[in-house]
């Protein structure tokens, strides 16, 4: 989540869900929390009971809106305009939190001469290379940096620009096809944009300098007036002002507001910048690092936070270390560290993180002499993120694929293209609970060719369910929670870990004895997670499963060891207590530095702890990275002198008696740094962070209203239209969409570029509580299927009347990719909007159905497209263009691939006394003859 990373330092929610109960006002935007995260929604409900105001800004009136005090309907994809309006309101009415902004943000920092804003260049920032449809920014050339950073011509690395870097400047990402050459991953030095060789940035505390961030921000958002917001979003100007008033009234010393977002923001080509705008707003209002404040990022899957932390992304190593790329800048460990580390702030420890990771992976084979086997790390030479990968697969360039708990044939954007990709594979391994779309696409896809024309060999491996395996989940608030296996999985079902671990063992066996250098990374890889004794089930019986890895051993490796210090209790290297113990000389090993401290001593798995202490933060329930800090950047909960902003909102504070930071939470700060500490000139690392600078992951220690680096599509958010939209960009008529987006246009992925007249209706996809994603876990369950049995489309009565569609009848939705037919849900929960003087209709499509399962139906994702935002290659399923008509489609409709659960089951529950058997098992009670 670079949106949060660029603003505050870490790409993770700044707070935790329970803390929402302490908010005085909560803005839900891009999130349908009551439906998508119903269990967590109890905390906003608690806040409401205590008198907080809940606001929902969303294209549809949802179950979340129903529980909020205020619902503002806006057009899908216009979020930056709305948020920009809020920022404009806060700035123009002088409602920002002066003391907080002056000390804790970069508002006073002065920028280089030569930076040009979108207001000056008609929708582009300086440093742009491209054709306004697709292209890239060169931050140095555009002079995005702080004053005092070297100008491009005097910068050494820039003068000797590498081939990769040249490519980045001139070719990549243009016209969609050059993606084949690979996207820049971390090319181009980044730190010189913000740090100045140990000097602190030049600031103007009066905020009067025309090039200080505050003035630039003011000019940048000057045109986001309530009237402009109304024109773009379709809400009334008063509605936006009401939201702004509520947020301002509930922020400050004594009150805090929170913002909750989810996939409704991320799944846009401007998603990262939407989150950035929220970051700017919350920093201006002084809501970050404080109880009841913050930005709560609601993640889309179970443990998706964990999979980001542990680097299932192609371009990151565990703990957000960049994956080395084939650029010369990453040639060896030294240059990699010099290039990716930062001189000041916590990232100054970068070398410790990477060396400890290499020691964890390659063990004794990694030593100082051989660069800790840095050269064994795979290099990134192209964009291997999901969408470009499938684009390549559809062109026949991929041979085989593993799918663990993923369903691209049903749930991925432009699912038709994904199925075309799967049909081109030689082999495919699907690990899942049921035969999902991705396992049966070769025989049950009604739009696909007959099975005899498909060459893909599909291996289906039945997976164990969560209660059938050990493991941990890292939830949306960075909280690791361990779960123990309750019973053995049935028959041949195995845990994902079992499958991977044994695959690794067999591969190692296959290459055993090889002296080829290329085989060494595999042969030397640490791969020893056997149980010391055969595992037992909770009831004391011996587990039936052979070869299961001991996942606590994996967690210990993630936590890290001191290799030169044996623990007398275990005879093994001593476990690290926290990441501050890491070394860069190879004496520590650590699989993911941010998780360090989760297993501080033998037998103490903090992720398993479930102690309720009555402490408001429940610090002994699970383990939150980093170092069990529940609210990030919590130094900001105290004023510059170290006193709480108010009694009501106190969290941590400086104690003169104890000479350290104390309070309710673990300080996200050096606990011994005094509030009046001033770094000496030339200070490095954490010593360069002053006592008043809470954002320790930032080289200058403050939150970034203006982001000189870290975001590829500009230092400030700009309202751009979605790639597909019926209207043009009112703000910048010459610049409709994000100028750095990547499109993958081709016969399987046509786009209707904005402004389009052929597809005049705005579509957005959404989730229902009753189903989970594309349905692999829910459409095989009769109890869930009866609650939401059929695909439907939500539309307003006005649109229905215009097209002759009746409620409960059929309608057809057509996009540039495909057409689907579904039942019509005509409801006033959707409203036509007045955009730039004309009526724009919106429809909502749940994306839970496809062609496998007990209930089947049209797939909303057959309509969506593949486009990629420049930061995280995210698609734009939350706003695209379509056309709507009454009636059904010709051709085959899918039929269920599994029949509903046979009922009633008259089998008694084994090993359970009849008296304790469930009541409703009709007849069973009589039939058992007890």
């Amino acid at each position: 989540m670079p949106g949060l990373g660029a603003s505050f330092g870490r790409g993770a929610a700044t707070t935790y869900q329970q803390d929402l109960a302490n908010s005085d006002c909560i803005l839900f935007m891009g999130s349908n929390m009551a439906e998508a995260h119903p269990v967590g929604f109890r905390w906003p409900m608690k806040a409401k009971e205590r008198g907080a105001t809940l606001i929902h800004v969303d294209p549809r009136f949802t179950r979340t809106s129903a529980l909020c005090d205020l619902h503002i309907g806006i057009r899908a994809g216009s979020d930056i305009a709305f948020l920009g309006g809020l920022v404009h309101y806060v700035l123009s009415h002088d409602r920002w939190f002066k003391e907080y902004v002056l000390h804790y943000t970069n508002a006073a920092t002065i920028l280089q001469e030569g930076f040009k804003d979108t207001e000056e260049l008609g929708g582009l920032f300086s440093g742009y290379h491209g054709n306004r449809k697709t292209g890239t920014y060169d931050a140095r050339e555009g002079r995005w940096g702080y004053v005092g950073t070297p100008a491009p011509e005097e910068h050494e690395e820039w003068r000797g620009a590498t081939p990769m870097y040249q490519m980045l400047r001139h070719e990549l990402g243009m016209h969609g096809h050059s993606i084949e050459q690979g996207a820049p991953c971390h090319s181009g030095p980044r730190h010189e944009l913000m740090t100045m060789e140990g000097r602190r940035p030049v600031t103007d505390p009066t905020l009067q300098h025309p090039r200080c961030v505050y003035q630039i921000l003011k000019r940048h958002f000057a045109r986001y007036t309530p009237e402009f917001v109304s024109q773009v979003c379709g809400c009334s100007p008063e509605a936006m002002v009401r939201v702004a008033e509520l947020l301002c009234a509930n922020s400050g010393r004594d009150r805090t507001s929170a913002i909750v977002y989810a996939l409704g923001w991320t799944q846009h080509t401007t998603g990262v910048q939407m989150i950035r705008t929220a970051g700017i707003l919350q920093a201006l209002l002084g809501n970050i690092g404080r109880p009841g404040g913050g930005i709560m990022a609601m993640r889309g899957h179970s443990t998706i936070q964990g999979s980001t932390d542990l680097a299932t992304l192609y371009d990151a190593l565990p703990g957000y270390l960049p994956q080395p790329c084939s650029d010369e800048l990453h040639n060896n460990l030294e240059s990699y560290v010099a290039h990716e580390g930062l001189a000041t702030g916590y990232w100054a420890n970068f070398r410790k993180f990477i060396v400890s990771l290499l020691k964890a992976w390659y063990g004794d084979a990694a030593s100082w002499e051989n660069d800790f086997r840095y050269s064994w790390l795979p290099r990134v030479d192209a964009d291997y993120s999901h969408l470009p990968y499938f684009d390549r697969m559809a062109k026949g360039q991929v041979k085989g694929y593993f799918l663990f708990g993923q369903n691209p044939a049903g749930g991925a954007p432009n699912a038709g293209l994904h199925r075309a990709g799967l049909r081109k594979l030689d082999w495919l391994v699907v690990v899942d609970w049921f035969e999902i779309e991705s396992a049966v696409f070769w025989k049950d896809d009604p739009t696909g060719p007959p099975p005899e024309q498909i060459g893909t060999e599909v291996f289906f491996l039945p997976a164990a369910a969560a209660p059938e395996k050990d493991g941990s989940l890292t939830n949306t608030q960075r909280l690791l929670q361990w779960h123990d296996k309750a019973l053995d999985p049935p028959a041949d079902c195995r845990s994902d870990a079992w499958i991977l671990y044994n695959l690794g063992k067999r591969l190692k066996q296959l290459y055993a004895g090889s002296t080829e250098p290329r085989d060494q990374p595999l042969l030397q890889l640490t791969w020893d997670y056997e149980f010391d004794e055969h595992p037992r089930l909770p009831d004391g019986r011996r587990s039936r499963i052979e070869g299961e890895p001991d996942l606590e051993k994996v967690l210990m490796e993630i936590n890290g060891f001191r290799l030169d210090d044996l623990d007398p209790r275990t005879g093994r290297p001593r476990l690290l207590r926290e990441f501050s113990e890491l070394e860069d000389d190879g004496t520590t090993a650590c699989g993911c530095w941010i998780y360090s401290g989760v297993f501080p001593q033998p037998g103490r798995n903090r992720a398993r702890e479930r102690k309720r202490t009555g402490h408001p933060l429940e610090p002994e329930w699970g383990f939150a990275w980093p170092h069990n800090r529940r609210i990030l950047y919590n130094r900001a909960s105290a004023d510059p002198e170290g006193r709480p902003w108010s009694e009501r909102k106190k969290l941590i504070w400086w104690s003169e008696e104890q000479r350290r930071w104390v309070g309710l939470d673990e300080p996200d700060y050096d606990p011994n740094t005094r509030p009046d500490y001033e770094p000496p000139p030339g200070a490095q690392g954490m010593a360069a962070i002053a006592g008043t600078q809470p954002f320790i992951m930032k080289p200058d220690g403050v939150a970034w209203l203006y982001a000189p680096g870290g975001v590829r599509d500009g230092p400030l958010p700009v309202h751009y239209e979605p790639i597909e939209s019926p209207v043009g960009n009112l703000l910048y008529p010459k610049q409709t969409g994000n100028p750095t987006v990547r499109t993958f246009e081709g016969p399987l992925n046509h786009l209707a570029h904005a402004p389009t007249t052929e597809y005049p209706v705005v579509a957005t996809t959404f989730r229902l509580t009753e189903h989970y994603l594309s349905g692999p876990m829910s459409r095989f369950n009769s109890w869930l299927n009866e609650l939401m049995p059929e695909m439907f489309v939500e539309l307003s009565p006005e649109l229905a009347a215009e097209r002759g569609i009746v409620h409960g009848g059929w309608l057809t939705v057509r996009s540039a990719r495909s057409s689907i037919a579904a039942r019509a849900m005509v409801t006033r929960r959707l409203r036509p909007l007045l955009i730039e003087g004309r009526i724009v209709h919106q429809i909502g499509l749940p994306f839970h159905w496809a062609f496998a399962g007990e209930v089947v139906g049209a797939n909303a994702n057959d309509l969506t497209s593949i486009v990629a935002d420049p930061n995280v290659s995210m698609h734009e399923c939350k706003a695209f263009a379509c056309q709507v008509a009454a009636g059904r489609l010709d051709g085959a409709a899918p039929s269920p691939t599994k029949s509903a659960a046979a009922w009633p089951t008259r089998d008694p529950v084994p090993d359970t006394p009849a008296a304790a058997q469930p009541e409703g098992m009709f007849g069973a009670r009589n039939g058992r003859g007890g």
Binding site: R63, S65, L70, E790, G920
Partner: protein, 283 residues
């Protein structure tokens, strides 16, 4: 002897269980998020079958109603004014009346004086030691008198076994000291379980608080007896008329009409005989 035992045995009454403090549900509809977790938890705990996959198009409700196989039912009531025109909306009408989407998890009311129990000819319907209304399926003969008697339309007869079924208030879980499945699963504590007197206090406090917050329409349904109906051991906090939620505005116990019905029947019978008698005698 054995035969005699088997004939006499069914007439023996075991010692009734010790009465316990009355328990029940308090359902606060103002915090219901319509997630239907209660429906699923109920079906899973009680091993009730799915009722088929039919899309009803009635907002997000596809359950339709309470039945022998659906003991919880979440209702969705969309209350939206006829839309302002988009121009009006852009001029601020979106703030004036944004509309409401009411949600409510319905269940058996566990009436203190339960018409179903009064109508049951076999004694299958009883009040348990927790003062909850409970159908003993092995005694039910499937006559369906309870179905007709219930003023809330809670009970139906199952086609699977011919007996009537409804919410047991998780009698089996309560006996083991557990909270009913639906209340356990409810993420926002819209469904609360507990001793009925405690629940009533809690609910009345909540109504007072809502009134303070300006929600004047909030009130309790069924927490106290009316002239025509007893109090309910599953009562509700509502914010609109009961009939909006599909509940009778003024429930009426059919038993109250019983005396009059008997008298009327007797009078009619006598009148008929009196009318016919002269004709018969005239022959």
């Amino acid at each position: 002897m054995d035969v005699l035992n088997r004939v006499v045995e069914p007439f023996h009454r075991g010692a009734p269980p010790e009465p316990q403090p009355a328990t029940g549900f308090y359902t606060d509809t103002t915090v219901c998020i319509g997630c239907k977790a209660c429906e699923v938890a109920c079906k899973q705990w009680n091993q009730l079958p799915a009722d088929g996959f039919t899309w009803l198009g009635d907002s997000y409700d596809n359950t339709g109603g309470l039945s022998a196989t659906s003991w919880r039912h979440v209702k969705f009531i969309e209350q939206f004014p006829v839309d302002p025109t988009p121009a009006e909306a852009a001029a601020g009408a979106d703030l004036i009346d944004p509309g409401r989407w009411l949600m409510m998890s319905d269940v058996c009311k566990h009436c203190v004086t339960a018409p179903c129990q009064q109508a049951c000819p076999t004694g299958a319907l009883i009040h348990t030691e927790f003062d909850n209304v409970y159908i003993q399926p092995d005694i039910c003969n499937g006559c369906a008198y309870c179905v007709a008697a219930c003023p809330f339309g809670v009970i139906t007869r199952s086609a699977l076994d011919g007996h009537a079924h409804k919410c047991t208030l998780c009698y089996d879980r309560q006996r083991d000291g557990l909270v009913p499945a639906c209340a356990k699963a409810c993420p926002t504590q819209s469904i609360q379980f507990g001793s009925i007197s405690e629940l009533r206090d809690r609910a009345r406090e909540r109504v007072a608080r809502l009134h303070e917050q300006g929600i004047a329409g909030a009130y309790l349904y069924g927490d106290a007896p009316s002239t025509t109906y007893s109090e309910l051991h599953s009562f509700y906090l509502l914010s609109d008329r009961p009939s909006v939620y599909g509940l009778p505005d003024a429930p009426f116990n059919p038993w109250l009409r019983m005396k009059g019905d008997y008298v009327r029947a007797a009078v009619c019978g006598l009148a008929a005989i009196a009318a016919l008698l002269p004709m018969l005698l005239a022959r």
